[in-house]
C-alpha cells in the first residue's frame, strides 16, 4: 500500500489523469499545468490562422494592384489578423501558458489559488475565441475596421462587427479572472521563506501584469459594450451627429490597449530574465532594479495611451503631456536591457537554444523600443503616423518582444513541461531561419514608412515595390523557420530523448522537481532560505 502511494506520488501530471480518459483528462482537469497546456494548444491553433492571414496580406503586397485580393478582402484580412493575434494570442500568451504552468511551481505552491476558476478562465477564453473567429464566416463578411474597432466606423460598417466585438469583450473576462487568480496566488501561496525579494523575476512580472489585467481590462469591456450599444440602440456616445465624441472612443480604447502592451511584454521580460542568468551562469544583475522597473512599467504604462492618438485632434496640452510620459516609460524598459546585458557581462555563456532566443529578443526589442521613441516624439509622429513605420515598430515590439520571448520560454521550459528534450540542431536551424525571416519581413517597413507608404492599404505606388518584395519574401522565410520549430517541438514532445531534472543548470524551484513535474509539484512544500539566481 505504501509502495503504491509512493509510486502515485511520483507519477507525473501527464500520467495522472484523475480516472478520466481522452480529451476529458484535459478539459475537466483543474491542474494548473494541464490548463497551461490547454492554453498553449489553443493559442498555437489560433496562431496558425493568424499567421495564414498575415502571409495572405504579404502575398497581396508583393506587387502593386490586386494580386490575390481586393480592397475589402484586404481590410477584412488585416482586421481579423489583428484581432486574432492581439486578443487571442499575445494578450493571453505568456501569462496564460507559462504563467499557469510555472507560477505555482516557481513560488513553491501546489496549484493556483482558485483552480476551478482557472479552468473557467480557459472556457471563457475558448468561448470568446470562437465568437471572434466566427466573425470570419457569418453574415455580412468579416469585420473591416482594424483591430482597434475605431468609432464611428465600427458602428456604421455593415460587416460582422458584433461577434468580433462581443468576442473581445468575453475574452476580457478570461483575462481578468486569470489576473485575479495570479494576484491571490502570489499573495497567499508563496512557500515559507519566499519573501517578496526572494521571488524569481517571472512571478514578479506576472504580478505586475495581473494588476493591469485586473484594472485596465474592464475599461475596454465597457468601451466595447458602448460600441455594441451604438450599433444596436444608436445611442450616440461616439457619433458627432448626435453630440458624441469619436476621440472619446480612442481614449477609452487606448486606456486599456496601451497597458495591454505591457500585459504582453512584462511576462516576456520575466521569461528573458529567467533565461539569461541560467545561460550566463551568473546571478542576475540588479535584481531589485528589475523588480522596481517592472512595477514602474506597469504603473507609468497606464498614463501613456495618448501617444496612439497624436494625429487624432487632441488638445496641445494633452499631446505635450502624453509625449513626456511616453519618454518616461522608456526609462524602466531601458533599465531592464541594461540589467540583462550586465548579467551577461563576464558570465560563462552557453549559447544554447533558449539563450539564442533571449539574445535575439534583446536585439529586436531594442529596435522596437528605439523606433517607439521616434513615434513618441510629436513632430516626427505626424510624419510617420499611420504609415508602414508604425507596423514595423509594432511588430518588432509585440512579435519581436512577446513572440521571441514566447519561443525562448517554450524552448527553456520544454524539457520541464514534457520531460523530453528537443533536437537542438533543428531548434537552432529553426531559430536562425525565423530570425532572418523576421528582420527581412519587418525591417523594410521602417524604410517604407519613412518614405510615406500608408499602412492598411492593399495597393501602393510603384516606388514602394522593391522593399515590399523583400518584405513578402521575408514572410515566407519566417514561416519556414516557424514550421521547422513547430515540427521539431511536436516530434520531440512525443519521442524526444528523456530530459533530466535540471538540464540547463537553473537555480529556481522548477529545476528541483522531476521533469515532467508530479501532479501537485512538490511532495512537501519547500522552505526557501536563500535568494534566487545564486550560482556558485
Amino acid at each position: 500500500m505504501s509502495e503504491n502511494k509512493q509510486h502515485d506520488a511520483q507519477k507525473s501530471y501527464l500520467e495522472e489523469t484523475g480516472g478520466r480518459k481522452g480529451i476529458f483528462k484535459w478539459i475537466l482537469s483543474t491542474d494548473h499545468k494541464r490548463i497551461g497546456l490547454l492554453y498553449l494548444y489553443s493559442i498555437m491553433s489560433w496562431f496558425f490562422i493568424g499567421v495564414t492571414l498575415g502571409v495572405l496580406m504579404k502575398l497581396e503586397l508583393i506587387a502593386p494592384g490586386i494580386t490575390i485580393m481586393g480592397a475589402q478582402s484586404y481590410n477584412a484580412t488585416f482586421t481579423v489578423h489583428g484581432v486574432i493575434m492581439i486578443f487571442l494570442i499575445v494578450i493571453p500568451g505568456l501569462p496564460a501558458v507559462f504563467g499557469n504552468f510555472m507560477l505555482p511551481i516557481q513560488i513553491g505552491a501546489k496549484d493556483v489559488a482558485f483552480p476551478k476558476l482557472n479552468l473557467l478562465s480557459w472556457y471563457i477564453y475558448i468561448a470568446g475565441s470562437i465568437l471572434v473567429v466566427s466573425s470570419l464566416f457569418a453574415g455580412g463578411g468579416p469585420p473591416d475596421t482594424g483591430w482597434t474597432f475605431y468609432a464611428p466606423y465600427s458602428f456604421k460598417t455593415g460587416t460582422n462587427m458584433l461577434p468580433a466585438v462581443l468576442g473581445a469583450f468575453v475574452l476580457g473576462f478570461s483575462s481578468i479572472l486569470t489576473g485575479l487568480n495570479f494576484l491571490v496566488t502570489i499573495h497567499r501561496l508563496r512557500a515559507p521563506g519566499m519573501t517578496w525579494l526572494k521571488m524569481p523575476v517571472f512571478p514578479w512580472t506576472l504580478y505586475g501584469t495581473a494588476w493591469i489585467q485586473l484594472l485596465a481590462t474592464p475599461i475596454v469591456g465597457i468601451t466595447l459594450l458602448m460600441v455594441i450599444g451604438e450599433r444596436i440602440f444608436n445611442i450616440g456616445f461616439f457619433d458627432p451627429a448626435k453630440g458624441g465624441d469619436p476621440i472619446l472612443y480612442q481614449h477609452l480604447f487606448w486606456i486599456y490597449s496601451h497597458p495591454a502592451v505591457y500585459i504582453m511584454i512584462l511576462p516576456a521580460m520575466g521569461a528573458i530574465s529567467e533565461i539569461i542568468p541560467t545561460f550566463a551562469r551568473k546571478t542576475i544583475f540588479g535584481y531589485r532594479a528589475i523588480i522596481v522597473s517592472t512595477l514602474a512599467i506597469a504603473f507609468v504604462g497606464y498614463f501613456v495611451w495618448g501617444h496612439h492618438m497624436f494625429t487624432s485632434g487632441m488638445s496641445g496640452t494633452a499631446l505635450f503631456t502624453f509625449s513626456i510620459l511616453t519618454f518616461i516609460v522608456a526609462i524602466p524598459s531601458a533599465i531592464k536591457v541594461f540589467n540583462w546585458v550586465s548579467t551577461m557581462h563576464q558570465g560563462s555563456i552557453s549559447a544554447d537554444v533558449p539563450f539564442l532566443w533571449a539574445a535575439s529578443f534583446i536585439f529586436v526589442f531594442m529596435i522596437g523600443g528605439l523606433t517607439g521613441l521616434i513615434l513618441g516624439a510629436l513632430a516626427v509622429n505626424v510624419h510617420v503616423h499611420d504609415t508602414a513605420f508604425v507596423v514595423g515598430h509594432f511588430h518588432f515590439i509585440v512579435f519581436g518582444g512577446t513572440g521571441f520571448a514566447f519561443f525562448g520560454a517554450l524552448h527553456y521550459w520544454f524539457p520541464k513541461i514534457y520531460g523530453r528534450m528537443y533536437d537542438r540542431a533543428w531548434a537552432k536551424t529553426g531559430w536562425i531561419i525565423f530570425f532572418i525571416g523576421f528582420i527581412t519581413l519587418y525591417g523594410p517597413m521602417f524604410y517604407l514608412g519613412i518614405r510615406g507608404m500608408p499602412r492598411r492599404y492593399f495597393d501602393y505606388l510603384p516606388d514602394y515595390h522593391g522593399p515590399n518584395i523583400i518584405s513578402s519574401l521575408g514572410a515566407l522565410v519566417m514561416v519556414t523557420g516557424f514550421v521547422i520549430i513547430v515540427i521539431n517541438l511536436f516530434k520531440s514532445a512525443r519521442s524526444g530523448e528523456k530530459a533530466e531534472m535540471n538540464p540547463w543548470g537553473g537555480t529556481n524551484l522548477e529545476w528541483r522537481i522531476p521533469s515532467p513535474p508530479p501532479l501537485e509539484n512538490f511532495d512537501e512544500i519547500p522552505t526557501i532560505d536563500k535568494a534566487t539566481y545564486k550560482y556558485d
Partner: protein
C-alpha cells in the same frame, strides 16, 4: 486557526443606505431637467461617486474591513482619478 471577527451590519443600516441610493438616483434624474451645461457631467459624476462610496463602504463592508483593503481601493480610485484628469487635459483644452 486564527479566529476572524466578522462585523454584522444591521438591517436598519442596509435599509437606510438603500433609501439614500434611491434618493440619489432620483436626484441624478432630476438634475437632467436643469440646464447645467458642462457642469451636468460633473454633477452626475459627483452623485455617482457618492452612491459608489455608500456601496463600497457599507454593502461591500470596506468600512469594517482591514485598513490594507481600504488603502488598496483608495489607490485604485486614485488611478482612475488620474486617468480622468489626463483625459480632461484633452477635453478641456481642445
Amino acid at each position: 486557526m486564527a479566529e476572524e471577527k466578522h462585523h454584522i451590519t444591521s438591517y436598519k443600516t442596509y435599509l437606510l443606505v438603500l433609501v439614500a441610493l434611491i434618493i440619489f438616483t432620483l436626484l441624478s434624474v432630476t438634475i437632467t431637467q436643469i440646464e447645467l451645461s458642462r457642469w451636468a457631467t460633473v454633477a452626475a459624476l459627483l452623485i455617482a461617486g457618492i452612491k459608489s462610496t455608500f456601496v463600497l463602504l457599507v454593502f461591500m463592508h470596506l468600512k469594517f474591513d482591514l485598513r490594507i483593503f481600504r488603502v488598496m481601493v483608495g489607490l485604485i480610485i486614485s488611478l482612475l482619478v488620474v486617468v480622468i484628469f489626463i483625459t480632461m487635459l484633452d477635453f478641456l483644452f481642445r
